[in-house]
Symmetry: C2
Subunit: 322 residues, 2 copies
C-alpha cells in the first residue's frame, strides 16, 4: 500500500471507533489493548502474503518464522508478553514437504518465545498467513503517542541489513559468501526483540517496531505523538556485514530499508542510561540516534550537519507506490 | 480443503499443542478459550477468500458482513459474547466505492452485535479478509466434545437455504422473485445466532456452528465427543422459500448444503424443553432432529425409516474435493 492508499483505508475504519472503557488502546498503534476482567491484554494481528511480504520461493520455514516474528515484534513494541497464538493459513495446494517446513519454522519460534498455538483455520487460496497474538502487558502499554520534546530516540540492533538481504533473496536467492549469508538470514529470519519488551514497559515513553523502514515508522510515531525529531545519519547503527556488502548505500538502507523488525523508542533523558544498561545485559544494543523536538518536522542530518532530503519510506517489495 | 487434506494439515499443528493451565480449550474446537487473570475469554479467527468463500462479484457489503458473521457464529457455538475485533484486510487495489460498501457491511453488523473494532492491518494481495474476535464466556465453554449418548440433537432456524442461495449467486447473481431473493439473502448475509449463545452456555452439552453442512459438521461433533448419532431427514427444518424453490432437492440441501451458520447442539433430554422455550422467546426456533448414540456411526433415516447413504459434506464452492 502506498501511504496515500493506507490513509484512505484507515479513514473508513477509524471513524467507527469510539473510546470504550474496556478498550484502553484501539486502532492506530502496533496493537490493541483490551481490558478483560482485571487484566489488560495486548492483541495484535498481521498478515503476510506471498509476493508482497516474502518472495514466492522463500523457504517454508522462513515463511512460518516470519508470520510469527512480525507479530512478536508488534507485541514487543507494545511492552507486552506474547502468550497465545491463532493461525489462519491460506494454501494454494497441500504440499507435505512445504507444510512440514512451514510448521517447523513457525512452531520452533513459538516454543522459543513461550507462545502456545491455540487454534486457527486453514483455507484454500493464494499463499497467505495471518497470525494473531494475545498476551498480558508487562506494565503500562507502550504506545506510539507518548513521545515528548527532549526525549532521546533509541534504536535496537542494526539497520538496513534486511533490505540488503532482500536484494539477495530477489536475486538468485543464494548467498555468495558469509557476509551475504548473514544479510540473507537477517531478511528471512527476523528476530523480534522479546527481551526488550519489559524494559520498554519500564523505561520508554513511546515505541514502534521497524517494519517499513526507519523514516516511515518514525514518521508514524511522530505523527501519533504530535512532535518532530532530529536524527543523525552517522549515528544509525550498521552491521559489519552491511558495511562490507554495501557501504556506499548504507545510509539509504539504514534510513529507509524495511523488514528489520528492530525497535525504535523515545526515552526521557534521565531514563536512557538505565535502559541501555539493562538492554545490554539482555544482549541487545541500543543506539541513540537523535532526539524528539517540538516539531512537527523530521530532520535527518548528514555527517556534515546538513539536512538529508527524505524519500518516502520503504514499502514491501510487491507494493506499487503511488 | 478436502477432509483428507484438512486432516493432514491438522496433524502438523496439533502435535505442537500440549495442555496448558491458561489454555482451557485449544485446537480442534470452534474457538480457543484462554484464561487471562481471572477471566476466561473465547477467541476465534476465520478467514474468507474471494472465489472460495464468496464469489468474486459479491457485493462489498456482503463480504464485510460475512467476514464478521462467520466469526460471530463460532463465538456463539462456544457460548461466548463477542466483544472486540481485529481485521486484516488484503486488497488487490483500492476501490473507494467498494471499500465504503465493505466497511458499511462489516461495521453495521459490528454495531448490531456489540463488537468494537480494535485494530488490524491492511495489505496488498488477492482479496481476503481475516477477522479475529475475542470476548468473555457466558458461563462454561460449550465444546464439541461434550455430547453423551441419549442427548437430543437440536438445530436452529432452517437448513439448506444458503446453498440454494449460492446457486443463485453463482448464476446471474440476480433473484428472479421474492423466493429467490430470500434465499440469496440467506447466502449473502448469514445471521449468527447471538441470542442463543447464553442459552447454550446454560443448557447445551456440546455445540458446533454449521458452516460446512449438517452432515460434515455433525461428524466433527461426533468425532470430538466419541459418540454416534441417528437423525431423521424428515425432521430437518426447511424454509418455505426452500420448499418453493427446490422441494425435490431439499433433503440433500438440508443434509449437506453449507453456509447456513445455524447452530447444532447436543442437549440432555431433561434440558430440551427449557432451552427450546427460552430460544423461542428470543425468536429462534430449535428443531429436534435426532439423538446421540453410543456410536460411532452417524445414521440418517429417511421418511420410511431407511438409512440414507451419506455423501461427503459440503466444501466451500472453490474447493476441489479429492
Amino acid at each position: 500500500m502506498s501511504q496515500r492508499e493506507f490513509d484512505l483505508i484507515q479513514r473508513y475504519f477509524r471513524q467507527a471507533v469510539s473510546p470504550a472503557a474496556d478498550l484502553p488502546v484501539g486502532i492506530g498503534d502496533d496493537g490493541a489493548v483490551v481490558l478483560a476482567g482485571n487484566t489488560n491484554l495486548a492483541w495484535v494481528m498481521d498478515t503476510i502474503n506471498e509476493d508482497v511480504h516474502f518472495p514466492h520461493d522463500a523457504p517454508g520455514a522462513a515463511v512460518g518464522h516470519r508470520a510469527l516474528a512480525v507479530n512478536l515484534s508488534d507485541m514487543v513494541a507494545m511492552g507486552a508478553q506474547p502468550r497465545w497464538m491463532l493461525l489462519s493459513l491460506c494454501l494454494p495446494e497441500v504440499d507435505e514437504a512445504w507444510l512440514a517446513d512451514f510448521s517447523d519454522g513457525l512452531l520452533s519460534l513459538a516454543r522459543d518465545s513461550g507462545v502456545t498455538l491455540a487454534g486457527g483455520d486453514t483455507t484454500r487460496g493464494p499463499l497467505s498467513v495471518a497470525v494473531t497474538l494475545l498476551g498480558p502487558l508487562h506494565g503500562q502499554a507502550v504506545q506510539r503517542s507518548g513521545a515528548r520534546p527532549g526525549d532521546r530516540l533509541l534504536v535496537s540492533g542494526t539497520l538496513g541489513d534486511a533490505r540488503a538481504g532482500l536484494d539477495i533473496a530477489l536475486g538468485d536467492g543464494h548467498a555468495a559468501d558469509a557476509v551475504e549469508s548473514e544479510l540473507l538470514k537477517r531478511y528471512l529470519y527476523p528476530q523480534a526483540r522479546l527481551a526488550l519488551s519489559p524494559l520498554l514497559a519500564r523505561h520508554a515513553r513511546a515505541a514502534i517496531d521497524l517494519s517499513d523502514g526507519l523514516v516511515g515508522d518514525l514518521t508514524h510515531l511522530l505523527s501519533a505523538s504530535g512532535v518532530g525529531a532530529t536524527i543523525h545519519s552517522q549515528r544509525l547503527p550498521r552491521s559489519r556485514a552491511l558495511m562490507a556488502h554495501a557501504e556506499e548505500e548504507s545510509d539509504a538502507l539504514a534510513l529507509s530499508g524495511g523488514d528489520d523488525y528492530e525497535i525504535l523508542c523515545a526515552v526521557a533523558p534521565e531514563a536512557v542510561e538505565t535502559l541501555v544498561r539493562e538492554a545490554a545485559a539482555e544482549g541487545i544494543m541500543l543506539s541513540d540516534i537523535g532526539e524528539i523536538t517540538q516539531g512537527p518536522e523530521l530532520t535527518v542530518l548528514d555527517r556534515d550537519g546538513q539536512p538529508v532530503p527524505l524519500e518516502a519510506g520503504f514499502s514491501h517489495f510487491g507494493d506499487d507506490d503511488a
